[in-house]
Symmetry: C2
Subunit: 444 residues, 2 copies
Amino acid sequence: MTAAAEQIRPLSADDLRDAWPALASDERVEGFVLLDPVEAEDFFLSLSTLGQAQIIEGLPKEKRRLWVRLLAPDDMADVLQEIDEPERDGVLALLDEPTRREVSALLAYAEDDAGGLMSPRFARLRPNMTTDEAIRYLRRQSRGTVETIYYVYVLDHDQHLLGAVSFRELFQAPSDAIVRDLMRPREKLLTVPEDMDQEQVARLFAQHDLLALPVVDADDRMKGIVTIDDIVDVVQEEATEDVQKYGGMEALDTPYLQTPFFSMIEKRAGWLSILFIGEMFTASAMGHFEHEIARAVVLALFVPLIISSGGNSGSQASTLVIRAMALGEVKLRDWWRIIQHELAAGLVLGLILGTIGFLRILAWEGLFNTYGEHYMLIAFTVALSLVGVVTWGTLSGSMLPFILRKLGFDPASASAPFVATLVDVSGLIIYFSVADLLLSGTLL
Amino acid sequence: MTAAAEQIRPLSADDLRDAWPALASDERVEGFVLLDPVEAEDFFLSLSTLGQAQIIEGLPKEKRRLWVRLLAPDDMADVLQEIDEPERDGVLALLDEPTRREVSALLAYAEDDAGGLMSPRFARLRPNMTTDEAIRYLRRQSRGTVETIYYVYVLDHDQHLLGAVSFRELFQAPSDAIVRDLMRPREKLLTVPEDMDQEQVARLFAQHDLLALPVVDADDRMKGIVTIDDIVDVVQEEATEDVQKYGGMEALDTPYLQTPFFSMIEKRAGWLSILFIGEMFTASAMGHFEHEIARAVVLALFVPLIISSGGNSGSQASTLVIRAMALGEVKLRDWWRIIQHELAAGLVLGLILGTIGFLRILAWEGLFNTYGEHYMLIAFTVALSLVGVVTWGTLSGSMLPFILRKLGFDPASASAPFVATLVDVSGLIIYFSVADLLLSGTLL
């Protein structure tokens, strides 16, 4: 944007939001300082953690304080983790003393634990207050120091959690009712420990339709709350990580267009090389059958068709099982049900593809006379191999996630292409074994 | 569970929740009626739409009313869509007249539109009320007839949206302040049209960190609100659909273990057959090079290795691009940036795999003397083909989602295995062309 254009029309937040993904870090800061101050505040708050960190780092030191103080302590802690080490202390120093202490406490948690997600600023009450006292007290607390007033937590003097009451219940109760009588008692409350993984926290939110969850330490002292708006981001983030892992790579930590070139290559080359090395066994497997190929070159023609069918059916099965595991629909102990289920599915799918393959070979033979006098035997070899390879691909695709999880690995990690590689090698063995069986004495 | 065990210990909601995914529909109903009545209510509300429909359908007619009346109209509308046609009217008749009218109105919307997600029960105010009047009025409304009081909408007599105020702002304002002066005016409000797709609505929630969004019709009359708790489910659901599509199948409408066998086969066989038919071109492509294979069988040994490397690198690139598109990070107009980016990435990745492949052939030759006198030429052929195939795979994997979207298709639909098939055929052509070039006069 030229200097003249700037004078005619100030940049709107919508324009900037639209261009945002395509802008480099310094262009983002340039655009941001052009925003109308009121719009800028909303815009800043709606940015991702990474975006907020870029703005703070990009602004001159004397302009940072305003934006730093706009952030809630939990968001500030996340932003600080994106800021480079040398700058970090300077940014932390811009906060007022109590906030700085809160943020420092949060920095001690791992970013993707409940502790790293939570806000320490929740609304709290004592059990012996009346509704009227409670509402007055909340009205004072609600001026900017709490994340939400929609759930209110009842604590004793040592911060132990005694119960919770929704603001709505408080609001509807008679003015002399006592908080203790209104609250849902501790034993009926769902809470999460500080070190629970964010994926599990997200699953609790989805299962129970919650707006907030209290976080407690090992002594049942309340440390903070996780609110649903943080969970939406977690769900998106975890889905993206899973998808990238299915795609056969390490999950990126940053949006695609903002990931530096060589860090992107690193995330991709690692798995690609592992898969490549695994796939080298196909060359060895084929080497074992070199003699058969030399005698019947026609066999080589169907190699890509057969192994890719095994790979595709395997990746279907593993995708289904991994996603069902991530959603908690399938547990480790369900493995036997899944085997039965997928064995049947694999056989049916194999029969379908085998039939198509069989008809294709007969059709080509009829049309172009491609496969010579033994075309019927070739058609049977291909069809039978397809049934075997697809069944085996489906079965191993559905079992690999169980094995990975049992061994303590994340089943999403490269399962699908891993299955493809496994199935490619075993598919070749199945194919050439079937060929040996059906064709020896004729073609072989 | 035996009859004796039931008498000793009533079934707890946690036990049932744990066993839930593994239970058939009638077992679920059997378990549900064993729950303690207070627990049963929470449990019922935390079920998925499908689970709620199963319970209602499974209960005898006279016991249904209690549970049907527990649901908010938007949830009831979703549940009705899961109930079989002949039962549906009977269930609808259990509602009181005003709720029945609300539910029927919601049934007119597509399930995955904003209109299908929204609740018509939002809290509303008139612009000329004072804060005190407003709070008193809300206190009346909040007794069970509104979904949330945390955002309150200001409407004129024709239901046109004039503005919105958060309950928190109202709560903190002086008691004689006027709603009109406190509210965020219409032009600053984000709203969604009734027919906006739920995936887009979810993206707005994530971008702007919202708790609720008003839904308006074409005349700017307010029809309802979408709240963030519905959005968490949408985000999960859409991620699952996308993941299943990446895995090369149609998205399932129901959880994996609850999908009937033949409907599962249908969803999987369709794409698998399409990919199989696409993959048949590999047999034709190989057929063209039958002569080369017959003269140098060693070439056939590397076919699976080379085409799978193309497939893996293509599926990495397409996964990255599709997910970035789904999150709104990459737009159609970014295609040229992506081409440059992925061309460079593909070349680097190809050089890495090419080098590994080259070294592997030299090592095997040194160790086992596998490849004969022309091993160096074979190594060069494989390495150069890998550079070409990986670069081409990466490039086509990143561009296919753009092409699919440009043509109006969902880029997630089977892109990854589609790329693999495309790359398999072109990979064979690249490989044998390189072989023709480097080996003619020696091996060929």
